[in-house]
């Protein structure tokens, strides 16, 4: 996708692939053939730049053809460089400018509650990045969700340690992040963002908390699965070149040489 596009973000999407897979194929109540189904759970992607992984997961889940992924970032494509609902209405929000997704998810959770009452089992999953924690508005939204005890709101933070100018601990240290969220009235779970079983349990726990919003601080590896890309902030916003893309796909398909790929 990124190679075809010639621009875009590599590290974040790879690091969030496991979480997207779990959400779309196991956790969420949704219908790819009827994206506006009223009783669906919602995924609200706040850090819009990682949309390649959302598009890829949606294609595999049946929202549109896998072939269409190659139109990413192209003129008139439904797969805009940053998510745009006008082009792809199956998206819950348009995003790209950081920080604004959580508040929109809070609004959805409040709306749900107005219609269905406190015990609604329709969940709003707000996906956030750690770079976004720099934005003041995240904490404005967090404070509101905490005050209103929005139990059907579950945030997942991509805690990959990178942003554009460097590592988060050099640019704007966030720790103790767990304590920050707790002090805003949230139930906080730290979890390995690449362990399906642990993630599944964490989301189950979050769903069972009924007097607070929950947040998963998902520890992920930026560029996960491709040795060259892993944990290097320079891969935040550039696409691979041809050889790098070939190498990356081979490494991902063979799990780093451990299995034989049917694509070979």
């Amino acid at each position: 996708m990124l190679l075809e596009a010639g621009s875009g973000h590599t590290a974040g999407p790879l690091g969030m692939a496991d979480i997207f897979t779990l959400l779309y194929f196991h956790i969420m109540n949704h219908d790819p053939k009827n994206p506006s189904w009223e009783d669906r759970d919602r995924i609200v992607l706040s850090n819009g730049h990682i949309c390649p992984v959302q598009y890829a997961t949606m294609a595999r889940a049946g929202y549109f053809s896998v072939e269409e992924l190659k139109t990413l970032r192209k003129f008139h494509s439904r797969l805009q460089g940053h998510p745009h609902r006008e082009y792809l209405p199956a998206l819950e929000i348009s995003s790209g400018p950081l920080g604004s997704g959580l508040g929109q998810a809070v609004g959805m959770a409040i709306g749900e509650r107005m219609d269905k009452g406190r015990n609604t089992d329709k969940y709003i999953y707000a996906l956030l990045s750690d770079g976004e924690m720099d934005c003041g508005i995240i904490w404005e939204s967090a404070m509101l969700a905490g005050r209103d005890k929005l139990q059907n709101l579950i945030a997942i933070i991509d805690r990959n340690g990178i942003q554009i100018d460097g590592y988060t601990w050099d640019i704007m240290p966030l720790e103790p992040l767990k304590a920050k969220w707790e002090s805003f009235g949230w139930h906080v779970i730290e979890v390995d963002g690449h362990n399906f079983r642990a993630l599944d349990e964490a989301i189950g726990e979050a769903q069972s908390v009924n007097d607070k919003p929950s947040v998963l601080i998902a520890h992920t590896i930026p560029g996960k699965g491709v040795h060259e890309f892993e944990r290097d902030y320079h891969w935040h916003g550039k696409p691979p070149k041809k050889e790098e893309a070939d190498m990356a796909l081979r490494e991902l398909r063979t799990l780093g040489g451990r299995v034989v790929s049917e694509h070979e």
Binding site: A5, G6, S7, G8, G48, R73, K74, F75, H76, S77, Q80, G81, H82, H84, E86, Y87, S94, S95, G96, P97, L98, G99, G131, E132, D134, C135, G136, Q163, I164, D165, I171, M172
Partner: protein, 329 residues
Amino acid sequence: MLNITQRLNKKILDDDVEQVPVRNGFGEGLLEAADNDKSIVGLCADLTESTRMKAFADKYPERFVQMGVAEQNLAVVSSGLASTGKIPFITSYAMFSPGRNWEQIRTTICYNDRPVKIIGSHAGVSVGPDGGTHQAIEDLAIMRVIPRMEVIVPCDAPEARKATNAIAQTSKPTYMRLAREKTPVMTTEETSFEIGKAYEMWRNEKVDVAIIGCGPLLHHALVAAQELAEEGIGSVVLNSHTIKPLDIETITGLAREAGAVVSVEEHQAAGGLGGAIAEVLMQTNPVPMEFIGVKDKFGQSGTPNELVVHYELDAAAIADAVRKVIKRK
């Protein structure tokens, strides 16, 4: 004819004209200005490399503040710094600063009258594949209506360098918009630059229309002027790099001479340079006018060229606007 007194790039209309991103000129200018004036400080919101503040930050780490992804804080902190005698340059993408932090800019910078220099990079639809969320095309409108604010749009890298040095020396709050992609180098070292002084890049003997523009699209204006001259339509192409304070005298005089105006900018057709010109001409010398700009739409993904053509900002669209405005005379 190209205006020889301005010593423009001789290859300006050649196919192989050199191409450099406007933002590079800012990076060079900031270093020069900072070498000359120790009170210059730099603040950036997690975009140090792509806004070209990195060379400054590397050379003067003690005069650089990394803000993280926090544009509202960027504006208010710079205002505080300015109150201690510093000249802060603050950088991000135009969509986020001044896009996200408008009220902070208005109150803490302009209302307080602090000489903060707001640098918005990646403006216009030519940002390309990132799409509409990242293409600032309302920034000139929201900046030019704030009292005290000066607004500047350099047309290429050399002009951005000169503009950066010039704004570093004023005591005014200033917004300067930059473009991301490589665009033709139109000016040279010798081309004049003075805040508030528009200059002619092109003039035919007979003047049927004034094409008044700013930013890299001026290259499209020049291509259109050349094509129109071959059809027998004479024009002046005016580089109105300063949108505020607008060069009222030059613009009014030219409108009177030409009797028709086309404005050219990579911005909404409403509220930017064209709007500023129309406000003035309606009071001084009303003439028929056409606006080259995005017509009340958002941007989208695509190559810079695809988008410039799609939103009718290119040389062909400018030439069409000229033909149309002349008929209205």
